[in-house]
Symmetry: C2
Subunit: 382 residues, 2 copies
């Protein structure tokens, strides 16, 4: 298997971008990458997208997006794993380069969620239609049940969850691409509107439009395109039972643990080696579950990690320096690529006020549904 590097990144701001269509969002991110890398062609394109069909009536994004950037002809494929679609695009692009079949592969993600569709109902297509959605539940409700169970089993509090939001908004306030680059106090989070108790508005990631893209090539060709290639050291993917009720322990995200184990093994590193991580905080409780399943925080300490400053900038293991899904925004198909871009910039020392000094090894974890799918990438400064 060939070694693979990321050599360039591009992304739109995330937000309610009423003047930007699905195709324009993609084109802006993709052409930024093409320009930065100085390439005149691509060998292949992967587009992570959760539901162009349900959001804006457009499937078949592979050829559409190649066409939009003047590259009709180039193989171009849409991949989907709900909110983990971006991470999956990175992984499938990795395999195509690693196999030797292609040299220059664009891994991208895009979602246009604000265009009239009922986002909550469209997102619910990522849950089990027969066992969950048919009976009326949507994602805030599923994650509220995870939160309640976590509180009952582990003594987690609303304050613990609220500190996750406070921390991620502090980080996001330093990110010019973030949808909500503003800080909130603990009191503001804890007194925000209830959505699905115990989850409140400021525990939930927003509905967002956006696109992100990175260029992959064989590591031994990377210096042609950048002085600072970032190596993809490991990739891991896993699934879990689709319906929350079918899992042994709803508070433990086994797909996250399994995907991380696979990525750590491939990379030959341990959780303690990671310097900076982006994890899937679609709801505040999700970050708590993820950092424990990833092994970034010891079992039993995850709930209090944000309050204790362990996961903040300057803490032991900074998590979601980009602002995370909570502050940066969560255009679902783009999120996994945007996470990889934050790690890419951190490892290149380009994260500005969000920079984790001396970061050498970073992790990005992207999740679908209530954790039925998870994909982890480990990136390394070369």
């Amino acid at each position: 298997m060939r070694e693979v590097a990321i050599v360039a990144a591009g992304m739109t701001p995330f937000g309610e971008l009423w003047d930007m269509s699905l195709r324009r969002l993609f084109a802006e991110a993709a052409l930024e990458v093409v320009k930065k890398a100085g390439v005149d062609h691509l060998d292949s394109i992967y587009v992570g997208n959760m539901s162009g069909g349900c959001f804006v009536g457009q499937e078949h994004l592979g050829p559409l997006m190649a066409d939009q950037i003047g590259m009709a002809g180039v193989p171009s494929t849409r991949v989907e794993s709900a909110c983990a679609s971006g991470g999956i695009a990175l992984r499938t692009a990795f395999f195509e380069v690693a196999s030797g079949a292609s040299d220059l592969v664009l891994a991208s993600g895009v979602e246009k969620m604000n265009d009239g569709a009922d986002a909550t109902n469209v997102l619910a297509t990522a849950a089990d239609q027969e066992l969950e959605v048919y009976h009326g539940i949507t994602f805030p409700g599923l994650y509220a049940m995870i939160a309640r169970a976590h509180m009952a089993a582990h003594g987690t509090t609303e304050e613990d969850m609220s500190w996750v939001s406070v921390k991620n908004h502090r980080h996001g306030a330093l990110n010019p691409k973030a949808q909500f680059p503003l800080e909130f106090t603990l009191e503001q989070v804890m007194n925000s509107t209830p959505v699905a108790e115990p989850l409140r508005l400021l525990h939930c990631s927003p509905v967002s439009d956006g696109a992100a893209a990175v260029l992959l090539c064989p590591l031994d060709q990377a210096k042609k395109y950048t002085d600072q290639p970032i190596k993809i050291l490991g990739t891991g993917q896993a699934t879990s039972a689709m319906a929350l009720a079918d899992r042994k322990d709803p508070t433990f995200l086994d797909s996250v643990q399994l995907s991380a184990e696979r990525a750590y093994t491939m990379a030959g590193v341990r959780p303690g080696d990671i310097d900076v991580a982006e994890v899937h905080d679609c709801f505040a409780i999700a970050e708590i579950c993820c950092i424990e399943a990833l092994g970034l925080i010891e079992k039993g300490q995850a709930a209090g990690a944000a309050a204790a400053g362990l996961t903040a900038l300057g803490g032991r293991i900074p998590v979601n320096t980009s602002g995370g899904l909570k502050s940066k925004g969560h255009p679902v198909g783009a999120t996994g690529i945007a996470q990889a871009i934050e790690i890419f910039e951190q490892l290149r020392g380009e994260a500005g006020k969000r920079q984790v000094q001396g970061a050498r090894l970073g992790l990005a974890q992207n999740m679908g549904g209530s954790g039925a799918s998870s994909v982890v990438h480990i990136l390394e400064r070369t």
Copy 2:
């Protein structure tokens, strides 16, 4: 890059299967493969599916389908390229095995089109939403325009197109899995109900439910699972302008030619070496365009090929011995895998009354939309 083989295949009958859900269709095909190969695990799963979201309100098919066959945990990814989703699943699975990352990868496709959704409108999400669908056109209309342009430019007749349907139904009548295993006379085809002139009902593939799956592994391990592995000798993918109006010549499917060239080059073979082919006859005119773009029939002779018997069983290059999309049925996400299964069985000498004697090299060509995406695989008897 490692050499890759197909070692087992499974598929449901195709048809209006009102008692079979999306997940059950998948499970039936996938478990048939697992049983035939005698494996107790899979390393990874790819699910080709065009629009679970719009057809039955279910995205996130990767983890759902892994869970359905008792394999929660296994990495499982849905890929989409409209009606070429199955072929793309085969290609992405190929890369994962070829890269060395995984040994046992299931490539599958599934679609549940008969469950209340308006199939014509859902299928239209594969066309350009802004330039085509918004203005009211759907696929029968797009292919009718291709047919009219073909008639004007090349003198193709309604009779030429009708012979394609007659031939494919003759083949399909020999296929126990076909949705419409019945023969029609030329007169019946030419007098069938107009759908979008010059296309009539019997020039159009049906709306179908179904699933198909194949197991891939490294060629050097294949004998553990079967006495007769079939090697994937070449894979090629290409895109074209999304909107028909944006193509230089609407009668020439450049994505088909380009994807075929890439597959021929990788395989080191020429069109004349192919013994049997499955091509994407979603409408009768599509088969005519495809066999020309694939180089299976000389330029200018494609329209009359079915009438002349060139593409029939016993002819120079038998095309769509399975009955094709027209007779076998077209559950869009499953079609590309079903095509590969027909070639797999032909090369193993298992095609029964449809057998092409001595077939050594076969081709499967799967297409999305009005030809905006195309993927070609070349398989070889080992």
